[in-house]
């Protein structure tokens, strides 16, 4: 078959700094396979598999720790934004109430400048609109669980991978013990 597509990773990464490229072929040989691939192989291979899995497990845990830190930072920032927005909404509500009161009082007075009343009404209307938007954004932020769906998914993937790797590592340890005996 003809290779018709060339793909170049256009990320900036140290991985590509070497001489030769790596094509994405499958590995085999019972070494470093999935659970199905652990049914054969020499003692030496078992040790290599265990070491590789342990390193993978550690790397996944490191990434999970980093993600957790990042998530905590994001949540802290989100909570701070919610608090700030809530304070703004409260201030606006207070301002609207005062303006409405003032507007009504002015309108009740004989000979009042009608233009000033209209301006106040306009200001009240604009504030109410802005507050509505602010409250809506706030609801959206709170409704999102204060997290990003992709971050949540990434975390879930990493946790599942960590658990699977830990199980596989335990299995390898057990198989190695059996081989030693």
């Amino acid at each position: 078959m003809k290779p018709r597509t060339i793909v170049i990773m256009i990320f900036l990464t140290g991985m590509l700094a070497g001489c030769a490229g790596v094509d994405q072929d499958p590995r085999s040989g019972g070494l470093l396979g999935g659970i199905s691939g652990l049914s054969s192989g020499s003692y030496e291979n078992r040790v290599k598999e265990r070491e590789a899995r342990l390193e993978q497990l550690r790397a996944t845990q490191r990434q999970l720790d980093a993600e957790t830190g990042q998530l905590e930072e994001q949540k802290s920032a989100a909570y701070a934004k919610v608090a700030k927005d809530q304070a703004e909404v409260n201030a606006m509500q207070s301002e609207i109430a005062q303006l409405e009161k003032k507007s009504k009082a002015l309108a009740a007075q004989q000979g009042t400048d009608q233009q000033r009343v209209a301006e106040l009404d306009k200001r009240v209307k604009a504030l109410k609109s802005k507050m509505g938007q602010q409250a809506s954004d706030l609801d959206a932020l709170e409704g999102s669980g204060l997290g990003d769906a992709d971050v949540d998914l990434r975390r879930k993937q990493l946790e599942k991978q960590r658990d699977a790797l830990a199980r596989e590592y335990d299995l390898l340890m057990k198989m190695q013990m059996e081989l030693v005996q």
Binding site: M1, P3, R4, T5, I6, V7, I8, M9, I10, F11, L12, T13, M15, L16, G18, C19, A20, G21, V22, D23, Q24, D25, P26, R27, S28, G29, L31, L32, G33, G34, I35, S36, G37, S40, A52, R53, Q56, A59, T60, Q63, A149, D150, D152, L153, R154, K156, Q157, E159, K160, Q161, D163, A164, L165, E168
Partner: protein
């Protein structure tokens, strides 16, 4: 076939006798002694390819295990794909390009106001690369024909091992590579996560699964078998590993969590190797429909051997037979629904076809 382009070079002496011995004793097709004798430090890479098209040699400091996941990268969050002289962006979920609004498999027309026509692929890639925080202006033709200009800021990015993409109401998951010990668990986590999300969302369906393998160039074969086993009953033959001297080993589906929803797999000429075995196995059991174009056609596996000086030899050590005993090498997999080039790049269109087929 996917390739990461970079200049090949060999700066120091390789343990040639060790390499000859391994190829002589373990490679799927033993090379002629004259071919082995002709290998030297100067021509090693070339001679290796003459013996085995998939064989590679890596010095210790340049080797990156295919078992490792992708690390975090700085960039626009896309791969550059060249097809018949045209350039496309394979966009990663959650990356800068996607966040800027660029649809996957958009055709690249201009970079920073300069046309990419008649420019070599390496120069284009260099123009797209850059430091974190810098930006690039991209003029693209999106699938469907709409022309748009985007400003994309390069940023740090960690791709997901299984990427959810959601045109319409279906669960579409993209796998670009089968990574040993990681892809199956990432898929399980994603199915669980999206299952809950879709139950919460109005109109979303979790009863049909579409897996996008168009850019899946392979990876770890056993991981691909393990993922296929999620969709087949315990004991089902997933494939047979055929080595030298009639050393054939059947791989069977294990017990554990199983999924029964109808499936469609999106495939194309870049779907290769482990991804082809995964797709072919599910197709032969009637467990999944294949939509797209004929796949690459590589049903052989390689293994990596660490040599005494720390360098690594990769060579072909087995052929993989699909459950019906056939190999996809040289012929690829024929999809149940064949599509044209433009349709193959249009995910929304493909998903609607999958919907009709399921």
């Amino acid at each position: 076939m996917m390739l990461v382009l970079s200049a090949s070079c060999l700066a120091w002496a390789a343990p040639l006798e060790e390499i000859r011995q391994i190829l002589r004793e373990k490679s799927l097709k033993p090379p002629a002694e004259s071919q082995l004798a002709a290998m030297s430090d100067e021509n090693l890479l070339q001679k290796l390819r003459e013996i085995d098209n998939y064989a590679r040699y890596f010095e210790s400091d340049e080797y990156h295990s295919p078992m490792s996941r992708r690390e975090s990268w700085v960039g626009i969050g896309a791969d550059l794909v060249e097809q018949d002289g045209k350039f496309f962006l394979a966009v990663y979920h959650g990356g800068a390009a996607e966040l800027a609004g660029i649809a996957d498999h958009s055709r690249l027309i201009e970079i920073d106001g300069k046309s990419v026509a008649h420019v070599d692929v390496e120069s284009i890639a260099d123009s797209l690369k850059g430091m974190e925080g810098t930006s690039v202006s991209l003029f693209v033709e999106q699938p469907g024909g709409r022309m748009s200009r985007f400003q994309v800021e390069r940023e740090m990015f960690s791709p997901l091992d299984v990427e959810p993409i959601t045109p319409g109401v279906h669960q579409v998951l993209r796998i670009r590579r089968f990574v040993g010990g990681l892809t199956k668990s990432a898929l399980l986590a994603t199915l669980d996560f999206l299952g809950r999300e879709s139950r919460a969302a109005t109109g979303a369906r979790s009863d049909v699964l579409i897996i996008d393998l168009r850019d899946a160039g392979g990876g770890d074969l056993y991981e691909a078998f393990d993922v296929a086993g999620l969709f087949l009953p315990q004991g089902a033959i997933l494939g047979t590993m055929c080595r030298r001297a009639d050393d054939n080993r059947e791989i069977r589906s294990t017990d554990g969590e199983k999924f029964t929803m109808p499936m469609a797999l999106l495939v194309g000429p870049d779907t290769a190797s482990a991804a082809e075995v995964f797709a072919g196995t599910l197709q032969q059991y009637g467990r999944a429909k294949l939509i797209g174009q004929r796949t690459f056609g590589k049903c052989v596996t390689q293994t990596d051997v660490h040599l005494s000086d720390g360098s690594v030899l990769r060579y072909t050590n087995a052929e993989v037979r699909l459950p019906d005993g056939t190999s996809c090498s040289g012929v690829g997999l024929q999809p149940d629904r064949d599509v044209r080039d433009a349709e193959l790049r249009d995910l929304t269109w493909l998903v609607s076809e999958a919907d009709a087929l399921l």
